[in-house]
């Protein structure tokens, strides 16, 4: 017996609070955004302060194709979530697979850029301040792409095993929030590194 409820007028009929997964993910995104902010500030602060070459203008070119891949993976993730809410699990799996593919292509783009910078242009994290800030900022973002891909791949495995059902839509939404955040951060990184920084 609940003593309080019997001694008081009846409570409001609806008592609805936000979902904890969503709130937790927003809080995590806020923390991650603060981390990225510090790295972005360091990048902006050190633009043009390198004591030796190579300079960003000489070695960087905007990775337009890979950027389009990553940004469109946000769209495919969104479509995947919509399919799952509609109960179409196979279609969800297909869109999810496309999302993972696009994310992996982006990672390949970063890897090939780094390979070229290291072996052709001789730029490493120790070369100068540009190298220091470039590899740490882009690397931090790449690390988040990897984490996102690990999460998506886990869901993909569960989908193949037939464990994902319509009622998991809310959880997938939470994961997809993280993926959208990773994409949004890339817009920031792209602007700072390839537009302002050059």
């Amino acid at each position: 017996m609940n003593a309080i409820s019997t001694t008081m007028p009846p409570p409001e009929l609806q008592w609805k609070l936000p979902a904890r997964g969503r709130v937790g993910m927003y809080a995590l995104i806020a923390a991650e955004a603060a981390i990225f902010t510090i790295f972005v500030v360091a990048y902006l602060f050190y633009i043009g302060k390198s004591l030796s070459g190579p300079r960003p203008r000489d070695v960087l070119s905007p990775p337009i194709f890979y950027t389009v891949c990553l940004l469109s993976s946000s769209l495919t993730m969104h479509l995947a979530g919509m399919r799952l809410r509609g109960g179409k699990v196979p279609s969800f799996g297909a869109w999810l697979l496309l999302t993972i593919t696009l994310g992996s292509v982006f990672l390949y783009g970063t890897a090939s850029e780094w390979h070229r910078l290291i072996y052709e242009d001789g730029l490493t994290i120790t070369t100068n301040l540009f190298g220091t800030t470039y590899y740490s900022l882009v690397g931090l973002h790449g690390f988040h792409v990897v984490m996102g891909l690990l999460g998506l791949t886990t869901v993909m495995l569960f989908t193949i095993l037939g464990a994902v059902r319509q009622e998991h839509g809310e959880r997938i939404e939470v994961l997809s929030l993280y993926w959208h955040f990773v994409d949004a951060v890339w817009v920031m990184v792209f602007t700072v590194v390839y537009v302002i920084g050059r």
């Binding site: 309080i4 008081m8 409570p11 709130v23 937790g24 809080a27 603060a34 981390i35 990225f36 100068n128």
Partner: protein, 557 residues
């Protein structure tokens, strides 16, 4: 109406083998057990950090003292600062938040119990990592021991060139790891408060404790993350040869200061907001009045949260940032005194006309009010950049921030320990020992930190190993060190009281203070599921409504 009807009779069997109990504690995801683990862990580090403080003060008791070597002295003040901030105050506050928030908002656990356990063990691992430096930091160079770069570890002291061995690595890794734990707990607190409140508890009906911890958790999310980023940069510098803080390659030592204090100053409010939370729960109960100006208290808290993000560079006036930047930080620092002042007046107004009971928790809260006022006043003094140029890095600064952390935060923490000890243990503490603790610690505190301002004004810099006689510092340093022994005695009485009362104390009952928030409606100690049935509330003081059905609060709110 009985309040016990909400709880279930306690049926815990205490006769299980020790190894089973240990296994239960090590694998627990229960917010109450994790809260107690946090608190006990912090108390262990409180003793360690206190011993380090005592070593520092014995070294400075007279001029030309040789109690420890200069190297050991540097390690002592570094470890003292790092330990007290990251492994005493933060864990103990998280412990209370963990234990109390679900109980106060009528929930059965935190939002993410396993994340909660993960966060605790990360924090615990961070502390062990810091102290493992004592044996592990020598490394291949055979140099270094415990970290000795100061708790804010300015560049270039932390570079490979000036910090051989691994002492700085242990420092930075310990903070990185415990930072992950702190962020995890903060996310958990935010999600718990926003998503798990019992029916009827709107944001405007939450206990102030929950409000203040919500803002605190938000600050942890926004302030500890920059520290994490800065530690990653420092690790990149030390291990991969990056140049973030390397002035030889065009890097900047000043940007480390900015990054550290962007964390460091909100951190002060991370520590003090839960202290405000304790005071906001304890002062009304022992004044027998509801809190004065609840909406203003909430507004002031949120204001403090915002303003605290824009005051960090007042730690850097002596760096020479230029007149415009200095002026901005002078004004923002002075501005933050306004919401803080509002809070002090609200607590005073709560006490005004109340039927004050001078129990131990209330004594600590009253001392907190006066001491925090003084701490705030010296803070406003130093917010003026020219005054800070004179006294920056002097013992005046040390006295100021110990007035905040000891006089403000630690005093309310003691109040919280005594106030909630009956709930957590089911036993009542000894009021005699509690009062003895209070007076010993009060005398010790004022001997130490009142008189510490004076050698600071006379020009004594912080972190000096020793000093020349005849500068007018000798007597003051002697008095300061004598105060330490009073404080140490007070701490011993406190710990003795906790242990003695746990085993021999009288049974406390579910609601020994005739209090008004939900945690007092369940058993002491609460069962694993907290509430037999989830309560529903109609006002900010649900237990008042329950006890006074003829005149409930919800009619007036």
């Amino acid at each position: 109406m009985s309040t016990e009807s909400m709880a279930w009779p306690s049926t815990t069997a205490e006769s299980r083998p020790f190894i089973d109990q240990l296994h239960e504690w090590a694998t627990t995801v229960d917010h109450k057990r994790l809260g107690i683990l946090y608190i006990v862990y912090a108390l262990v580090f409180l003793v360690i950090g206190g011993i380090e403080a005592t070593v520092i003060r014995i070294q400075l008791i007279r001029p030309h003292n040789n109690f420890v070597s200069p190297q050991v002295f540097n390690r002592m003040f570094t470890m003292h600062g790092t330990t007290m901030i990251f492994f005493v105050v933060m864990p103990v506050l998280f412990g209370f938040a963990n234990y109390l928030i679900p109980l106060m908002i009528g929930a059965r656990d935190m939002a993410f119990p396993r994340l909660n356990a993960f966060s605790f063990w990360m924090t615990a691992f961070g502390g062990l990592l810091l102290y493992f430096s004592l044996v592990g930091a020598n490394g291949l160079y055979g140099a270094g021991n415990a970290p000795d770069v100061g708790w804010f570890a300015y560049a270039p002291l932390t570079s490979q060139t000036f910090s051989l061995g691994h002492s700085t690595d242990f420092w930075t890794l310990a903070l990185l790891v415990s930072g992950f734990g702190s962020i995890g707990t903060a996310i958990n607190i935010v999600a718990t408060i926003l998503c798990l409140r019992c029916p009827g508890m709107t944001l405007a009906k939450m206990p102030l404790f929950a409000w203040l911890n919500l803002v605190m958790a938000g600050l942890v999310i926004l302030a500890v993350s920059p520290l994490t980023a800065a530690q990653i940069m420092l690790l990149l510098d030390r291990y991969l040869g990056a140049h973030f803080f390397d002035t030889q390659a065009g890097g900047s030592a000043v940007i480390w200061m900015h990054f550290f204090w962007i964390f460091g100053h909100p951190e002060v409010y991370v520590l003090v907001l839960p202290a405000f939370a304790f005071a906001s729960e304890i002062i009304p109960v022992f004044s027998r009045k509801p809190i004065f100006g609840y909406p203003v208290m909430v507004g002031a808290t949120v204001a403090i949260g915002f303003i605290s993000m824009s005051v960090w560079a007042h730690h850097m006036f002596t760096v020479g940032m230029g007149a415009t930047v200095n002026t901005f930080f002078v004004i923002s620092t002075m501005a933050i005194a306004v919401p803080t002042g509002i809070k002090i007046f609200n607590w005073l107004a709560t006490m005004w006309g109340g039927k004050i009971e001078f129990k131990t928790p209330m004594l600590f809260c009253i001392a907190f009010l006066f001491q925090f006022l003084v701490a705030g006043l010296t803070g406003v003094m130093m917010s003026a950049a020219p005054f800070d140029w004179q006294l920056g890095n002097s013992y005046f600064v040390v006295a100021h921030f110990h007035y905040v952390i000891v006089g403000g935060i630690l005093f309310t923490l003691f109040a919280a320990f005594y106030y909630w000890f009956p709930k957590m243990s089911g036993k009542m503490y000894s009021e005699r020992l509690g009062k003895l603790h209070f007076w010993l610690f009060l005398i010790g505190f004022h001997l130490t930190f009142d008189f510490m301002h004076i050698p600071g004004l006379l020009g004594m810099p912080r972190r000096i190993y020793t000093y020349e006689p005849g500068r007018g510092w000798d007597t003051w340093n002697l008095i300061v060190t004598v105060g330490v022994f009073f404080q140490a005695a007070g701490i011993l009485v406190f710990l003795g009281n906790l242990i003695w009362s746990y085993y021999r104390g009288e049974t406390a009952g579910d609601d020994p203070w005739d209090a008004w928030t939900l945690e007092w409606s369940t058993n002491s100690p609460p069962p694993a599921y907290n509430f037999a049935s989830i309560p529903e509330v109609k006002s900010r003081r649900p237990l008042w409504d329950l006890k006074h059905t003829d005149d409930p609060d919800w009619k007036y709110e």
